[in-house]
């Protein structure tokens, strides 16, 4: 069983997943950041593989992608860096279809397995294409596909996504690009409070626009956990030590 599935099996609530962009802020910061997040008690990490044209991302993550590419990050280098990360924290990678397609999907999956990546998020991978061409491949390399759902995703589609999933489901807090936080999610959000009643087999982690410890507590109350991206990237941007920053950030966001 993958490290990711183990964590999901043993911890049923209050999960915290933190996103970081590989190659940001400095080219080789990834292992330092991942290991610091692990030490700080984060349950899993989402590693962004930078892309020149990230259409689902808002300004903060766009910028981190651009900086990382300028720093010289490549997919092969990310796989090298992943070998230096602790095996004890579950890792999922997040990227777009084109870099993976160009790299070669099978080769990409192979490399993921080698370095202990357990899940892949490709927001622009069409579900139909996944089923037709990649489902078997992902299985063969022990990778869980992680799909997004939104407040607009229909019942039938939710069912399909649940059936195709093997780890967790990524619920976006509202239909938007990343980092659109407008000053806090509201407790009266009926989409969030209805998540557990959707009747899905897999745990749900809520991501996009979680910017405060209150936001995090709210999504951890209504779902199985939360995913924080832009807010962490922003936090990293002006700190001298990514290691200290990662630990400090987790402390603040969990009110620890």
């Amino acid at each position: 069983m993958s490290t990711l599935k183990k964590v999901l099996e043993t911890k049923k609530e209050g999960l915290l997943n933190i996103y970081c962009t590989a190659g940001y802020p400095e080219l080789n910061d990834l292992p330092t950041i991942v290991n610091a997040l692990h030490d700080a008690g984060v349950d899993m990490v989402e590693i962004g593989i930078p892309y020149s044209d990230p259409i689902a991302d808002g300004e903060t993550i766009q910028k981190s992608n651009a900086v990382a590419l300028k720093n010289g990050i490549t997919i092969d280098l990310i796989f090298e860096q992943l070998k230096e990360c602790t095996p004890d924290i579950p890792k999922v990678v997040m990227t777009y279809f084109n870099p993976v397609f160009k790299y070669g999907l099978e080769h990409f999956c192979q490399q993921c397995q080698k370095v202990g990546v357990d899940g892949i998020i490709i927001p622009d991978l069409p579900i139909g294409l996944y089923q037709a061409s990649y489902e078997e491949m992902f299985k063969n390399y022990g990778l869980s596909p992680i799909f997004l759902i939104t407040p607009q995703t229909s019942k039938d589609r939710l069912q399909l996504i649940d059936d195709l999933s093997s780890a967790f489901i990524y619920a976006v807090s509202s239909s938007s690009t990343t980092g659109k936080a407008t000053g806090g999610l509201s407790d009266g959000n009926t989409y969030l409070s209805g998540l557990k009643d959707l009747g899905l087999k897999h745990p749900i982690l809520v991501g996009f626009n979680i910017s405060t410890s209150d936001d995090l507590a709210l999504v951890q109350k209504h779902a199985h956990g939360g995913i924080i991206g832009s807010e962490f990237i922003k936090y990293l941007s002006d700190k001298p030590s990514p290691e200290v920053a990662a630990q400090q950030f987790v402390k603040e966001i969990t009110k620890g």
Binding site: Y51, L129, I149, T177
Partner: protein, 387 residues
């Protein structure tokens, strides 16, 4: 039609809708309704009437006598430059604005490179009383200043895009992001035959009127139809009704920039490989790591690292020949047309004209050049090149 899109939204290996889940409802809505709306009698009547009385269609097919003498062949210019707003782009925007009304969308967004699509969108929105926001790369805002003023006068808001290469590709990303954030009330009018299914087909259907008219205006079939290709909308419009007339040679001309052996080019089919840009599978200019390469062309409307999926398919099955010309060759061709015919062409269209230099002719050849737009917007480039 042999080259039409299939149920899954593909032309051979190319096309599809590589969109994040957030856009799924919008794309589904469009996909399930656009063909029905385009074929609806009331829609067709309203669009036809606007195209005739507002745009000035049919545009003339003009026999260019002196240019023909110069090359020793029969050269016809399809005068899309005479369309209201100065380019073929309005054929698409009027159709899509009528479509948006039928989908009850009150807010329109668009991307633009040369500003022609932005102006055409702003115009259609003014006509219908719809809110209009146009995304434009900061670099293009600089080099196409007259069109920026035009859009603003027409009531549109122009949003400057500073990411990436600050040109058309990045403006398109930003428009897609806007759509993700405003899906309920907003329709995205994409400006070429690119983007997720069903846009390539939607825009193709709206531009096909160009070849429909050429067919009626011409005595018999042409031997060649030549058009410039950015995303490929004027080209597909000029080719569409000839695709199954296999004797007609179809030629798409991409922007070679400083030349395809340099790193300053926008000739996607010469330099690209398969991949996904702006949500469809096609060819694109990219690094070995799948990062999109910033293109270069003197012409803002051709400065795009991708190409519509139908063109990728027509390239692979060899129905259309794709070539490219350099910035310099396009400038020279523009001057030739100015002096021989008294027409100032758009820099984009000058790429199609420049291809004449690369052809060998029979005196009986009948060559149609799609003159996709006029050169008012390019005056500063022409003036700088002359001094």
């Amino acid at each position: 039609m042999k080259y039409d899109v299939n149920e899954q939204g593909f032309y051979g290996d190319f096309g599809g809708a590589f969109i994040p889940e957030m856009l799924y409802p919008n794309i589904q809505e469009l996909k399930s309704s656009y063909r029905k709306i385009l074929n609806d009698d009331a829609f067709k009547k309203e669009l036809a009437s606007l195209l005739k009385d507002y745009v000035g269609r049919p545009t003339p097919l003009y026999f260019a006598k002196r240019l023909s003498e110069h090359y020793g062949a029969n050269i016809y210019l399809k005068r899309e430059d005479l369309c209201h707003t100065g380019a073929h782009k309005i054929n698409n925007t009027l159709g899509q604005v009528l479509l948006a009304q039928r989908l009850n969308k009150s807010r329109i967004i668009a991307e633009t490179g040369a500003g022609q699509h932005g102006v055409a969108t702003a115009t259609a929105c003014a006509l219908m009383g719809l809110e209009c926001i146009v995304y434009m790369g900061a670099k293009d805002i600089e080099r196409q200043a007259p069109n920026v003023s035009r859009m603003k006068m027409l009531g549109a808001e122009v949003r400057s895009v500073h990411s990436g290469s600050k040109t058309l590709k990045d403006a398109t990303n930003e428009a897609i992001r806007d759509w993700i954030n405003n899906q309920e009330d907003t329709h995205y009018i994409i400006g070429s035959v690119v983007g997720p299914d069903p846009y390539p087909d939607l825009v193709t259907q709206l531009q096909a009127i160009i070849s429909e008219e050429i067919k009626k205006q011409m005595d018999g079939l042409p031997t060649h139809v030549v058009a410039c290709v950015g995303g490929g909308s004027n080209a597909i419009g000029a080719f569409y009704h000839f695709l199954e007339d296999e004797t007609v040679k179809l030629i798409g001309v991409e922007a070679g920039g400083l030349g395809i052996k340099t790193d300053k080019s926008a000739a996607t089919l010469a330099l690209g490989s398969r991949g996904v840009l702006h949500a469809s599978m096609s060819y694109l200019m990219q690094t070995s790591d799948g990062q999109v390469i910033e293109p270069h062309s003197i012409s803002a409307g051709l400065d795009y690292p991708g190409i519509g999926p139908l063109h990728a398919h027509l390239h692979d099955c060899k129905r259309v020949l794709y070539s490219n010309v350099t910035d310099q060759e396009a400038l020279e061709a523009a001057n030739r047309l100015m002096q021989l015919e008294g027409i100032i062409p758009a820099l984009e269209s000058s790429h199609a004209l420049a291809y004449l230099e690369k052809m060998t002719f029979n005196s009986t050849d009948k060559i149609v050049i799609n003159l996709s737009g006029r050169g008012d917007k390019d005056m500063s480039t022409y003036i700088n090149a002359a001094t």
